[in-house]
């Protein structure tokens, strides 16, 4: 039983099986009756819709409760384009996806500033409004009566370049579109775009520290999702030949969401399973139709508790977020970091920075300078402002007063992703990796700011995309080696010990080939062997001219590593100099151990 299940898993999760199955359907279509092929067409359209929601929800973590709106916009756009303006079929369908893209982008304009549930509610409102508009805007949409007489494959009125298209030919076209979309999605998800989508999904804070703009990423996700849903709508219009607002109610949005969630969010196969299941269930089971709302309600209510990864999870399908399986690597251990020439101008200059949190003064006028290739330690009791300083430099907080210059440019108050893009990399006090990613994928995510190829190149695996991805994969391989993590590269990081996760996070920060590396208590919780690996990584960075700021409490760990120590207390600098001087400095001793009794009792 167990081995059978395993075999089934292998079959289901294999992309080639899916392709063979689709080809078999394409061959079988002319020999099947029209009703069957019609159903296959509906299933294919549902697959597109489910993939569209999957990209947005499963990968980018944004929920759409109004996908029927995009679907409707796509359907009406191509119907109007063909019947009113005589636009040929391929152009009309392309026009649909363009409209979907534009609307998705517009809908997500506030995305950068608000949390997901605001967007979810907005998408719900969006779906309802599109439905209302379809009913009210009679001159364009035909109102409640809908649009009739759209050329349709079903009744043989659809033509392409003078050739009549029947349901079978239409199905072929649709199948081809599904294959292309899924192939592109697969490549896209495995590119730095897919990793950025997922990073925003898991932690916006951490995404920002990797140079990923959460607003732009979410807008891109909405636009792409709208594009695919619009495409599905375009195909739908010429399949049925008759559009009415009732096909695009809120329940349609719910149905699309149900398909995707039941199939399995985050995998490519899941939405296919879900879409096929929920295309056939209502056809085969009358009871299902009668209790549709109740069933959908129950599914949405319980799936996340009972079957969080859907059917795909049941078959143990894992999505991988790098193209390592597709590419040959050229390993070159020295290529992990760029060699920087030393400069006399300070790389980082912090000028009189004050940070206040509703009256509480966490930093009371801090100034410091840091050159390339030097390592500075920030030391001080808990709550003395060390982490706050790192958060201010990396753009998580905007300072109340003062300025921060990085490479001569004032970066104080810039968003964290802009600062990260400029070459400031950081780790967090508690590691913020993506738990579901492998170690390699996590480290690779750090390289995000170095990629230059665009989304289309990523989706079609253009040469440019392949070159960049294999270059970064090679760098990551080298970094994994330097961190002593070569053996655990393909293990899921969430399952690994704490020390490994910390080292991986440092390697991830280095993967961005940073100018400035900020490490917030990197040695906490590390074993002695792991701490040595960490020292090795910091030295590697230093050798390549990276400036490093490290916060830590372990004096032995810092002793052999740092060029300068700055000690903080209550948001102020109380000592600056070398390690030996610090140990004997009276102000430091007082801050750590308390003042000595001076009175004679």
């Amino acid at each position: 039983m167990k081995s059978m299940l395993n075999k089934l898993q292998g079959v289901i999760s294999n992309a080639y099986v899916l392709i063979v199955l689709m080809l078999a359907m394409a061959v079988a279509a002319p020999f099947s009756d029209a009703g069957t092929v019609q159903m296959w067409c509906f299933a294919a359209i549902n697959v597109l819709l489910a993939q569209s929601v999957n990209l947005l929800t499963g990968i980018a973590g944004q929920i759409s409760l109004g996908h029927a709106g995009f679907f409707a916009i796509g359907a009406y756009t191509s119907a109007i384009a063909m019947t009113n303006w005589g636009v040929p079929l391929p152009l009309a369908v392309a026009f649909s996806s363009l409209m979907g893209t534009a609307v998705g982008y517009l809908l997500s304009i506030p995305a950068g500033r608000v949390r997901e549930f605001y967007l979810a509610m907005m998408s719900l409102a969006f779906g309802l409004i599109v439905y209302e508009l379809l009913r009210e805007w009679r001159g364009v949409t035909g109102g409640v009566m809908g649009m009739r007489g759209i050329p349709s494959a079903q009744i043989g009125t659809l033509e392409l370049f003078g050739i009549e298209l029947g349901t079978v030919e239409y199905f072929w076209g649709l199948l081809f579109a599904v294959l292309v979309v899924m192939w592109m999605l697969r490549n896209f998800v495995k590119s730095h775009f897919g990793r950025a989508f997922y990073a925003v999904h898991v932690s916006e804070l951490s995404a920002g520290s990797l140079g990923i703009s959460q607003g732009a990423t979410k807008r891109f996700a909405y636009a792409l999702s709208g594009c695919i849903a619009g495409l599905a709508g375009g195909f739908y219009a010429f399949l049925v030949g008759y559009l009415t607002p009732e096909s695009f109610t809120m329940m349609r949005s719910v149905e699309i969401l149900v398909m995707t969630i039941v199939g399995g969010l985050g995998s490519l196969v899941g939405p296919v399973l879900g879409a096929v299941l929920f295309t056939y269930l209502p056809q085969k089971l009358q009871a299902f139709n009668d209790y549709q709302y109740i069933v959908y309600g129950l599914v949405l209510l319980l799936t996340f508790t009972l079957l969080p990864k859907g059917l795909a999870g049941l078959f143990n399908v894992h999505t991988r977020f790098s193209k390592r399986d597709q590419l040959k690597l050229t390993t070159d251990a020295n290529a992990a970091l760029t060699m920087r020439t030393p400069a006399f101008d300070p790389l980082l200059r912090v000028e009189d920075v004050v940070m206040e949190f509703s009256g509480l003064r966490a930093l009371a006028g801090v100034s410091l300078e840091l050159r390339r290739g030097s390592v500075m330690a920030l030391v001080g009791p808990n709550g003395s402002g060390k982490s706050t300083l790192v958060n201010v430099i990396s753009g998580i907080y905007a300072p109340t007063h003062g300025k921060i210059y990085f490479q001569g440019r004032n970066i104080s108050g810039l968003p964290s992703h802009v600062i990260a893009q400029a070459g400031v990399s950081r780790t967090f006090q508690d590691p913020r990796n993506v738990p579901a990613f492998t170690v390699r994928e996590n480290v690779l995510m750090g390289a995000n700011r170095l990629y230059r190829h665009n989304a289309l190149s990523a989706a079609v695996n253009a040469k440019w995309a392949k070159v960049e991805e294999s270059r970064e994969l090679a760098r990551v391989e080298a970094l994994l080696g330097a961190a002593g993590l070569s053996d655990s590269g393909d293990k899921v990081i969430g399952d690994l010990p704490y020390g490994t996760q910390r080292l991986a996070e440092v390697a991830r920060a280095l993967a961005s080939d940073p100018e400035l590396l900020l490490l917030d208590e990197p040695a906490a919780g590390l074993s002695e062997a792991e701490a040595e690996q960490l020292v090795g990584l910091i030295r590697l960075a230093q050798r390549h001219g990276v400036a490093v700021i490290v916060i830590d409490h372990h004096m032995d760990f810092l002793a052999g590593l740092v060029d300068e120590v700055v000690v903080f207390e209550a948001g102020e600098e109380i000592y600056r100099g070398d390690m030996d001087g610090m140990r004997t400095d009276p102000a430091v001793i007082e801050a750590y151990l308390g003042a000595e009794e001076t009175e004679n009792a």
Binding site: Y118, L128, Y296, G297
Partner: protein, 294 residues
């Protein structure tokens, strides 16, 4: 002028209900950081149960009591089935989907039990024929009653939250539930109470809004949920006073645009308002910006 005053009155009246619904949304949002996407269906249940019971000859007071208790009980169930199991899951995806599912399930159950057609809502407060004259315009007494009751409840709740021990507990849990637990505040009971009261508020709001609109059908809650959410966002998520101002503003705007132009245009105005506020001032008129936690 008469028409303007009538629209203004009905706008203020529905706007006050939006504030009431918004308060119910806020209450559970404060204690659990969860926005109940199923709240609209709870409004519907409150109104539907009242209408059906009165139609079957039950006394008004008894019908309303049963409806309110049902609504409160449903919110407790939602907490247990849709909110608590997903509280630990990272992100909001789980609870958005599960609370929406709860709402759709309720809608499905109502359609199955009572049919999908709109049910006439009986006169619970005064009669729809009662009017008073104000500046020459006839205004329904029901509008005035709905407005007064809603505003009264919102103000009383605000006072309760600011002055009473329970109010302090709710605000402590809203601020930081782990810290509240360390202070000995029974977080669990505060959360349950917030859901129960949120259910009661939803029940009352459902009855009031059906009284104004005259009918109730299984699908009517979703629009109300969205409008109440818009009111809350305009006023500022987390501010009861804010949702009152946002609700009244939205109600009046909706009725004026709907009256002079078209009801579909009114919905679009509400949507544009939502997008606009989220883009320009996401914390709303009276809310505080959310702090980043590292």
């Amino acid at each position: 002028m008469d028409f303007f005053i009538q629209m203004l009155a009905s706008g203020l009246s529905v706007g006050a209900v939006y504030a009431l619904v918004g308060l119910g949304l806020n209450l559970t949002f404060w204690t659990t950081r969860v926005l109940n996407f199923g709240q609209g269906a709870v409004l519907m249940v409150g109104a539907m149960v009242t209408a059906v019971l009165i139609a079957s000859g039950t006394h008004v007071i008894f019908a309303v009591a049963v409806a309110l208790l049902t609504a409160a009980f449903i919110l407790i169930l939602i907490e247990a089935l849709a909110v608590r199991p997903l509280a630990k899951a990272t992100g909001s995806m789980g609870w958005i989907v599960s609370t929406l599912g709860a709402g759709i399930l309720l809608q499905g159950l109502a359609s199955w039990r009572f049919g999908t057609q709109a049910v006439a809502f009986p006169d619970v407060l005064f009669s729809s024929a009662d009017t008073v004259q104000f500046l020459g315009a006839y205004i329904s007494v029901q509008y005035i009653a709905v407005f007064v009751i809603s505003v009264l409840i919102v103000v009383l709740m605000e006072l309760f939250l600011r002055r009473s021990t329970w109010g302090y507990a709710v605000r402590a849990v809203a601020h930081d539930n782990e810290f509240a637990a360390l202070l000995g505040i029974p977080v669990r009971r505060v959360v349950l109470a917030s859901f129960m009261v949120s259910g009661l508020l939803a029940g009352v709001a459902g009855i009031l809004v059906s009284q104004v609109s005259g009918t109730v059908d299984p699908g009517f809650g979703m629009h109300l949920l969205i409008l109440a959410f818009v009111a809350t966002v305009v006023g500022g998520m987390g501010s009861a006073f804010g949702s009152l101002v946002g609700g009244l503003l939205l109600g009046v705007l909706e009725k004026l645009v709907g009256g002079y132009w078209s009801p579909a245009a009114a919905e679009i105005v509400a949507f544009i308002l939502l997008v606009g506020v989220l883009t320009i001032r996401p914390q709303g008129l009276f809310g505080k910006p959310e702090a980043v936690k590292v």
